[in-house]
Amino acid sequence: MASVGLRAIRKDFGRTQVIKGIDLDIADQEFVVFVGPSGCGKSTLLRLIAGLEDATSGDILIDGRVVNNVPPKDRNIAMVFQNYALYPHMTVARNMGFGLRAARLPAAEIDQRVTAAARMLGLENLLHRRPGELSGGQRQRVAMGRAIVRDPQVFLFDEPLSNLDAQLRNQVRTEIKKLHQDVRRTAIYVTHDQVEAMTLADRIVLLRDGRVEQVGTPTDLFERPANRFVAGFIGSPAMNFLSATLENGEIVLPWMRLPAGIAGSGAVEIGIRPEDLLAGDAAPEPYRFEALVRVVEPMGSEALLVIAVGGHEFQVRLMGRIHPIAGTRMLFAINPAELHVFDAATGQSMPVVQAR
């Protein structure tokens, strides 16, 4: 049983502020993913929770207890590092049991725990090898094994898949999810890959520049991004953005006008996901427009297109096995239910009321 809490956490390295005030509550057994662009402070935040760094100010709570001055080993947590951090001069078995030996557990118990973890991860036959004699995926699993044997209340992962090739990454990602369902412990997972975040997380914490941009379920962030940054970060291919003006509740684009149901006037930015640009007959009239198909990338049951209209280019993800031909003109439509509007000055989401 362990929840994790962050209260007004700040971290400076010398003069640089890296974490600029973060509040967060992570429930027991929850799988939370920290995601954000490179350098936003994800690893630093994780290391603060681990106790490898001291916060400049603020409190860190584990299981309701303030742990600011508790050393890493007494926080009941385990961490899986990006480059695995296995001890090169020790066998797999010793690597996994090293922390237990340091904690002076009886040899029989260490043995038993290591064997159990090895069985769970399919490492039984590798226990006497050294890390140098293992493949990347095997090393990754040893690193997880080392975390599991400690039977921690909280697992911390810092980009554990970034050194694996694409195929292995999917496989290990599934294993991590399975592991979490089996051991039922709180997990905090850092990545800059939004696909990993979407697939693994119970809740995503999207960070930028030392601050939380939005916290929510993957669906929340995908469907109701709080601002333009979140909208652009989550989803692949990324959302299309376009400057527009709001005039008496209507969004005015150079080539069309859309009813938005937002009062007022001013500069706005609209966002449309590639999958929300549909073939023209799929939506009613005010949402339709004609565009030139520039590029077609067929991908089997769908195709990625680049289309041009009114001096702008959009990415489109078109479902269906029959693909349009590059260079032709075609009718497209904006899915009215999924139109995002952002305040051009602040980047904040503006609620769109659909006149359906």
Binding site: R47, A50, L52, P72, K73, I77, A78, M79, F81, Q82, N83, Y84, A85, L86, Y87, P88, H89, N95, F98, G99, A102, A103, R130, P131, G132, G136, R139, R146, N163
Partner: protein, 272 residues
């Protein structure tokens, strides 16, 4: 076998010549130790009647055994001390951020620029005021740490990934245990190299032991051998015999440790 390309032939010839130049004095030393005193100044390599009498004589009639023991104690104790302290300091300089770190490093590096000849007088004054003259400790203390060793170890520790040390912190080791159990085993090649340098350096040290000792029972091998050359005559065959025996430990140290000077285990616990 692959056909030899001209470049390789040139390279091998040069290496062979270099090798001969290096080994000739050693051969002469060995040869002379097997000669009789009447034969010493004849410059042929092979002794006409090889004899081990010199060995018998130096071991029985001079305090050579004693000098050997002193040299060996001095060299092994200083080497142990250099290995321990230099790696500890090098590790601290490489892996901890603290105020004045760069200054300390530069200060240590700058000691490398001062030759021993300049240091013996301050050392002597210091040893005298502390009552260390003509003691074993007096012979040893300047060699207990070396700026070069600190530099060497620091460079190697820089290559040990921080992530490994963090992993050990998570595993609950204290900072000294991390140094001892995780970082140090990863730099064994550097330790071996440093051990060779330190041992050889102290084994062959001459100037300082000569100055600080006065009783023959505290002579090191080089000082003892030098004492064999008198004012009017020098027993070259004795000196060469002593030198030949003195080579044995250095050879042993080198043979035992050079196997370890292979890199490569360093990063294998990490990716790729």
């Amino acid at each position: 076998m692959k056909p030899l390309r001209p470049g390789r032939i040139v390279a091998f010839t040069l290496l062979l010549m270099g090798g001969i130049v290096m080994i000739m004095p050693l051969l002469f030393m060995l040869a002379t130790s097997l000669k009789t005193s009447s034969e010493v100044y004849e410059l042929h390599l092979l002794p006409r009647e090889p004899t081990l009498d010199n060995y018998l004589e130096i071991l029985t009639r001079s305090p050579f055994g004693r000098w050997f023991l002193v040299s060996f104690s001095v060299a092994s104790l200083t080497t142990a001390s250099v290995l321990f302290f230099d790696s500890l300091i090098g590790y601290t300089l490489a892996k901890f951020r603290f105020r004045g770190r760069t200054f300390v490093f530069i200060a240590i590096m700058s000691t490398l620029m001062i030759p021993t000849e300049m240091l013996v007088i301050p050392w002597y004054v210091m040893a005298k005021s502390l009552g260390w003259l003509d003691t074993l400790w007096g012979v040893m203390f300047p060699g207990m740490m070396s700026g070069f060793g600190v530099f060497l170890m620091r460079q190697f520790f820089l290559g040990v990934p921080d992530e490994l040390l963090d992993a050990a912190r998570m595993d609950g080791l204290n900072e000294f245990q991390i140094f001892w159990q995780v970082a140090l085993p990863l730099v064994t090649p550097a330790l071996s190299a440093l051990a060779i340098f330190a041992f050889l350096g102290n084994w062959t040290a001459f100037l300082w032991p000569l100055i600080v000792t006065s009783s023959p029972s505290l002579y090191t091998v080089p000082v003892g051998l030098a004492s064999l050359s008198g004012e009017f005559q020098t027993d070259w065959e004795m000196i060469m015999t002593g030198s030949s025996i003195a080579t044995i430990p250095t050879l042993l140290v080198f043979i035992l440790l050079q196997r370890n000077i292979i890199s490569g285990i360093m990063l294998t616990g990490l990716k790729g």
